[in-house]
Symmetry: C2
Subunit: 109 residues, 2 copies
DNA sequence: CCGTATCCTTTCTGATACTG
DNA sequence: CAGTATCAGAAAGGATACGG
């Protein structure tokens, strides 16, 4: 049936999972705490938790626990995650060049 | 709540829609007919139809009708669609560098 | 603060059958 | 060939409540 590269398919499966792109974008600006990300993204805590676990399992996101007081937990990108920066960057460029606001907001009041 | 660029969000929404990446990849190799794409992708005709309509609506894919005999219909990328090539290319590169087969196939028989 | 478990609703997918 | 309609099961998403 299909003859796509399995690695490409797998990569696409991870990256194109809903919200993953936005989460990666958040983390490209540096490590963040759960609540910071939750506030910065249009998704619920449950979904954010799901996706972070997925990305951690894929080795893209690292979970760092700082045993300070109070305990601080931060999420950051691994090398594998940072390697996705060009992808995100290209999407930003494309969005800048080709996406217009009319498509985003309702046509008329 | 969130302060993401709406254009970036919109772009991510389109691109990260399931199967869209694979469809774009197919079309980067040149115009294709419906049945060709169906054979080359791991999705049903209904889904392919859905996605092509979506991509056509977004101005990413063009539907070309050739009034030959028999009538031939081909799908190809618009300029907007071709502009996504770097994105797909980067994902391919990333997949090549970071995705291993163990993650794709079942560990043992 | 940092999540996870549960419940319930919405959306998505795929198989099948059917038109032009 | 090139799709569309329908239908049922699977998956995803949100709200809420609760544990560490």
């Amino acid at each position: 049936m299909n003859d796509l590269c399995p690695r490409f398919e797998k990569a696409m499966e991870i990256i194109s999972k809903r919200w993953v792109g936005l989460i990666l974008f958040e983390l490209l600006n540096g490590a963040k705490r759960f609540s910071e990300m939750e506030a910065g993204l249009p998704i619920s805590g449950r979904l954010l938790s799901d996706r972070l676990k997925l990305l951690e399992k894929e080795g893209i996101v690292k979970r760092n626990i700082y045993s300070e007081f109070p305990v601080r937990i931060e999420y950051s990108l691994s090398e594998k995650g940072k390697a996705l920066e060009p992808v995100i960057k290209d999407i930003q460029d494309w969005a800048h060049d080709w996406i217009t606001m009319q498509e985003v907001t309702e046509p008329k009041a």
